[in-house]
Amino acid sequence: MKAAHYWHCFVGIQTREWLRFWQQRTRFASALVRPLLWLVVFAAGFRAVLGISIIPPYQTYITYETYIVPGLCGMIILFNSMQGALSMVYDRELGSMRVLLMSPLPRPFLLVTKLLAMGAVSVAQVYVFLFIALLVNVEPPRWGYLAVLPALVLTSLMLGALGLLIATWIKQLENFAGVMNFVIFPMFFMSSALYPLWRMNEASPWLYWICQFNPFTHAVEAIRFSLYLQWNPTAFGITTGVTVILALFATAGFRPQRTRILGGKPA
């Protein structure tokens, strides 16, 4: 196989993901409603009770809305990645995953390309959310919109790989909803998305340590620092490391017979 074959395959998978996304436009709206509700309703209520001191990367006191925007960017990617994993299980049950796996190109390449395609859709949604956030006066530096791109791509890859890993182990579509409750909500709530870690430490030291070990915390911090044009090597390092480990496990563990790609029962 030549480089051109890989390129055509890459473009083909990306195109299909965008076409599917376009077909399911309501998903775009619903993916934005959730974080916008948090931003406009939840944050408005919390602003009164939760003071944010000056913490990096912010140079001054900030509103609670400003604080939670990076976490909500992470939330969009988190939900989209799990939705993507769900669609992989769905594809598998319907059979279209078999079409992907019948390609002569290496499976790790196909799966990583699929992750990148799903990630691209998530990143586009995050940008739309960031522009809407301007309406509630959350205004990061202009160059922050560009600087945050690598953090968003990295986060989408990490969470996409996690979704793929989960999809690999899920036998049936029905089992997926339960697993989501054990992944999405703990990951989101036990992170720095909604509250600064020092606040967590004040409330409960063990919860603070759980937040520290949660890779989503570091992904959110990578987004937060990048958006405000600061470099956080710890957050980037941990997010990158976790991404590589999850991607390796997810691609190496993608065994069609384990995922019952041929259907529910042997025939």
């Binding site: 195109t15 319907l94 390609s103 069609p256 025939a267």
Partner: protein, 240 residues
């Protein structure tokens, strides 16, 4: 293309599904893989398409091992699965272009080959319609057109007529036979329906994971002392 499968055995956990299956498919010929439900046909397809990993034995495509050179082998195989594997929300052409891209074809090549195949199947004027709008028979034709896009030498069809009415089943079967004849395509057509098999076909009868017969249909009938393939199939498998 010649396909040689040797000593294929496969088990799901403790349950053996294929037991020491060996056969050779001859270039440019229509082969019918006949077996009742649960015989192991889909598992055999899973092994031929690399969706299942070989546990024992090997498959050679023109001498190239599926185990050792999977990419080369996969380029030569086109598959139509038992279940629909088209994206219903995308158009016919978009489905074909996606498949072409997975095989490394450029958009230009995909368009040219896709249109040619759709024209052969009488579906070119419906290329921009969503697959959801097509009936079952037409969807099957699109799946076959898709499987032929990358010009494979071997076409595998796993019970392709499931869910189709009698007329559509017959038309599809005849169409694939014509492809086999005109394109020198090696075809393996898995089915449990005797009426889809002819006595001059090469017939492989699979039952409970074992290959019970592998010869021309007429020769199998003579060996079993039966009048027709239905009688032979019943005599060998107990299925009607």
């Amino acid at each position: 293309m010649t396909i040689t499968a040797s000593n294929l055995s496969f088990r799901y956990g403790d349950k053996p599904v294929l037991k020491e299956v060996s056969f050779t498919l001859t270039s440019g010929r229509f082969h019918a893989l006949l077996g009742p439900n649960g015989a192991g046909k889909s598992t055999l397809f899973g092994l031929l398409t690399r969706l299942l990993a070989l546990q024992q034995g090997d498959i050679l495509l023109d001498g190239q091992s599926l185990r050792k050179q999977p990419a080369e082998a996969m380029r030569k195989i086109g598959v139509v699965f038992q279940q629909n594997a088209l994206d219903l929300d995308l158009t016919v052409r978009q489905n074909l272009q996606y498949h072409a891209a997975l095989h490394g074809l450029s958009r230009k090549q995909a368009r040219a080959r896709g249109d040619r195949e759709l024209e052969r199947f009488g579906l070119l004027e419906r290329a921009n319609e969503a697959v959801r709008q097509l009936n079952g028979g037409h969807r099957r034709r699109v799946e076959i057109a898709r499987a032929l896009l990358h010009a494979p030498s071997l076409l595998l069809l796993d019970e392709p007529t499931v869910g189709l009415d009698v007329a559509s089943r017959k038309a599809l079967n005849e169409h694939v036979r014509a492809l086999c004849e005109h394109d020198n395509l090696t075809v393996l057509w898995a089915t449990h329906l005797i009426e889809e098999v002819r006595e001059d076909d090469r017939v492989l009868i699979l039952h409970q994971g074992q290959l019970l017969a592998d010869d021309a249909g007429r020769a199998i009938c003579e060996a079993e002392g039966t009048d027709d393939l239905a009688g032979t199939f019943h005599s060998l498998t107990g299925a009607g």
